[in-house]
């Protein structure tokens, strides 16, 4: 049983999906989703522990076929770190989903909603664990197709969810296609799809034009999937018009998984020694990251709809992860992993809290939360702490992210870039301040609806808030795990 955990990690939610679709009672479907995501989270945690104790990659051969003939699932320090993020957020989001889904989605669709919900989670977990490049594409499509459906389910409340889902579908498919084209070129050159095997065989064909083309297609496809500036336009409407529970799940996990896949492909297959990777590709990713950080932050400052505001802020935060990757060093990758982890917590908390407001008031805008600081203090405080973490205030997880990101840049003597990164992250203060001002410094308008809060709504958000503060104070284990993850790809110590 224990040695089958790597595959159970994916199988459990995957097989749960058709089961959920068959369960007609909505509480049953939710209960099943809660149970299975809980089990998936448990498996992730155990896998993390197993990998840490083993100190090396755990390789699971599907059907007993060894690589490169069979498909393998690899639990190394990097995937072991990302799995609990995805499954943990999925579990907490499922707890919160019940109320949010009840409020926003037609009761007849609940079973289907949870089926798609479990599918997208299974797809994400699959992308993280698999050691096969084509398998990544399969899981990418599983998670994306179900995510398009989930976003479109927002249409019952907000018709704009339909064009948003359609845009997302078109661009998502373009991204996946680019990825698979690049992969095809690699397969043509090397005759293998196993990631480890690929990286070994690439050495023979390293400087051919076909390999560079493959790298360009794969990188571009993944930039699109991770919403790296300037390929981010699908993200804001998709997050803003999706059902609140979906916004929370996707904002916290979907793009992160693509970041992880990008790292795995660029460093795990092509490798830091690949000609032109460390300078040209690195510089490109750095530049796009910084540009994204500014564009996202400035757009967030101008935004009045809270879901869109934090979606724009996600563009900026993905920019920071890109900056970490672009630094092309162990510290840079560690910073990217740290921020991937921390940002999932912060954005999960923020979107769950905002979702609780949106589910009641129909939407969550600056106007909706005017004076709400006194009416729903617990929910608003969760938003406040999440906002402070986005700025990177010490004693929140965001500070640790910022610390290692700046360190990665300064280690390479990128003083200017470090300064720019810093300024853009401090600009986050402007949009967080707008929220503070609206919620606490303004009086609630007389005609505004009365907002209420109950533990069902704020406990899930607060679970993540507590984790944000916890990992901000006791950050040593996370930093250690992130360095271990980075060392899978690039050698180097703290």
């Amino acid at each position: 049983m224990m040695q089958h955990l790597p595959i159970l990690q994916i199988i459990v939610p995957l097989l749960g999906a058709p089961l959920a679709a068959l369960l007609r009672g909505r509480d049953l479907a939710w209960g099943l989703a809660l149970l299975l995501t809980g089990v998936a989270f448990l498996i992730s945690v155990v896998l993390f522990g197993q990998q840490k104790i083993a100190g090396e990659a755990l390789i699971y051969e599907l059907g007993g076929w060894p690589a490169p003939i069979g498909i393998v699932y690899v639990i190394d320090a990097a995937s072991a770190l990302v799995l609990p993020v995805v499954s943990g957020i999925a579990f907490v989001a499922t707890i919160a989903a019940r109320r949010l889904v009840e409020a926003e989605i037609d009761a007849r669709d609940h079973a289907l909603f949870y089926a798609a919900w479990l599918l997208t989670i299974a797809g994400m977990l699959g992308q993280v664990t698999t050691g096969d490049a084509f398998n990544i594409f399969v899981f990418l499509e599983i998670s994306s197709l179900s995510a398009y459906a989930l976003v479109a389910m927002g249409a019952g409340r907000d018709r704009r969810a339909l064009p948003a889902a359609f845009n997302y579908l078109i661009l998502g498919t373009v991204g996946a296609t680019f990825y698979v084209i690049g992969l095809g070129l690699l397969y043509m050159l090397t005759g293998t799809l196993n990631l480890m095997d690929l990286s070994e065989r690439l050495a023979d064909v390293e400087s051919t034009r076909a390999v560079f083309t493959a790298l360009a297609f794969i990188a571009l496809g993944l930039f699109l999937k991770m919403a790296l500036f300037p390929l981010h336009f699908w993200l804001v409407p998709a997050y803003a018009h999706a059902p609140s529970a979906v916004s929370a799940l996707m904002a916290a996990t979907a793009t992160k998984v693509s970041v992880y896949v990008l790292i795995r492909l660029i460093f795990g297959v092509f490798g830091i020694e690949f000609p032109g990777l460390a300078d040209a590709v690195g510089l490109l990713i750095l530049t796009l990251g910084i540009a994204g950080a500014f564009v996202g932050t400035l757009a967030a400052i101008l935004e009045t709809d809270l879901k869109k505001l934090f979606a724009q802020s996600s563009i900026a935060q993905l920019g920071y992860m890109a900056i970490g990757i672009g630094a092309m060093s162990a510290t840079g990758l560690a910073a990217a992993f740290i921020h991937l982890f921390n940002h999932a917590l912060m954005k999960g908390a923020l979107f769950l809290a905002i979702g609780a407001i949106a589910a009641q008031a129909g939407r969550a805008s600056m106007h909706t939360i005017e004076g709400a600081g006194r009416q729903i203090p617990i929910t608003m405080t969760a938003i406040l702490v999440g906002g402070l973490a986005l700025i990177g205030v010490p004693l929140t997880a965001g500070f640790i992210s910022k610390l290692y990101l700046i360190r990665a840049l300064l280690e390479q003597d990128f003083w200017m870039l470090a300064g720019l990164t810093f300024i853009s992250s401090a600009l986050a203060l402007a949009y967080v301040w707008k929220i503070i001002e609206a919620a606490w410094l303004k009086e609630r308008p007389e005609d505004a609806p009365v907002l209420t809060e109950s533990p069902v709504q704020y406990v899930p958000a607060w679970l993540m808030v507590v984790a944000t503060i916890g990992f901000g104070i006791f950050s040593a284990p996370l930093v250690e795990a992130a360095y271990a993850a980075a060392n899978v790809f690039i050698g180097g110590t703290r």
Binding site: I400, R407, F422
Partner: protein
Amino acid sequence: MAVDTLILALLGLPLLASALVLLLRDKPDLRDGQALLIGAITAACAVRLYASAETDTVHFISLAAGLDISFTPEPLGKLFALVAGVLWPVATLYTIGYMRGAGEANHTRFMFFYAIAIHAAMGIALSGNLLTLFVFYEILTFSTYPLVTHKGTPEAMRAGRIYLGILVASSVVLLLFGVIGVWVLTGTLEFKSGGILAGHIDPFYVPFLLALFAFGIGKAALMPLHRWLPAAMVAPTPVSALLHAVAVVKAGVFTVLKVAVYIFGIDFLRETASSDWLVYVASFSILAASVVAMTKTNLKARLAYSTISQLGYIVLGASLATSLAASGAALHIAAHAAGKITLFFCAGAIYVAHHLTDIKDMNGLGRVMPVTYTAFALGALSIIGVPPLAGAWSKIMLMGGALDNGHLLVLAALMISSLLNLVYLGEIVLRGFFAAPTHGLKSEAVQEAPMSMVLPLALTAAMSVALFFAVDYFILDFAKPAGG
């Protein structure tokens, strides 16, 4: 008592006071009485800590390698803790008188945040490293915001926005960047005598790093980041006392000095000549603020610009990079605190007793409020730097430091500034005692503010005198290794 107990007491007592303020919100006398009592105990602890020679470190938590929340009492920090600790109960007594005399609302909220601000000031004073200092620095900013906007008028809210905007933005953009930069370069943030940067950084970059701190510490109100201080004068006078004397600006210049001494190291700054540019910026700030002060006729506005000028002295002392100048700057923290709190107490007393805010309306008022005006005269003379008042010593030491380092222009700036101080502070005293009355009061009979306001201002005026004679206890020697 052991040193670690004293540290915990200094950090914990203000928190206790704030909790009790909330609990006793329905019993105003009890609420104010306990704040006074706890303030007195805090003052005693601060004195006791200042007298102690031990330097134990109290560790709380460790975030990552080289990132701790810890507290270490070193001489400079103990001096600031002493200033904040001793002035707190005095200011509390004054606050009680002012809030009741001027009929301000929301007394409980006010007392609560006042105590939190003192807690933050203690955290800054005793912090063992830059991270701890930064955290408490931000707590101080946020806890004083409700005090600045206390009146809730549109004007107060606007002032609050400038206050929070400048202080938070400068600290989050510049100061935090500097802190992280130091951590990346050295792997630690601990305050060590002699500094930690020497050998870890290319001297070319030192002036830039110093600039991150000099301008990032917005609370030091170095021009052009001074706007928040005059804006904040819309707050009730006890807040002005807190901002100008007890905690806020003092925390700012204290941080500048502490960073110069324990992070950069005085010798390192002198050898690399990295702080020369700051000498001129600080001198400019001193003179320009004095000139602006002369144009203001609102008493509190004039005092606010006077503070900006005086803070320049302390930044100057840090940037001159000699141990004499640094000691002078440290002494000036205490001397200016005693002097300026007296001046603000007097301004508040004048407002509560006669509702006057403009200097032109105060002619002849000295004969009506003799105690207040005598105290004002003493505070003013101390700030001008006339013996036998505390300000004289610190100015002499700063001048000596400037001479040591060959900055003759700075010497000239200091002298011109003293002259300007004499003009704009002397004017108030002279109008009060000798000019024909314009205050519009019917009689010339003595009409002072309530006793709970007059007593504190007399006390702080007396401190200015006492500090001159007891100056030996307050001269810190940065030349020999001190602290841990």
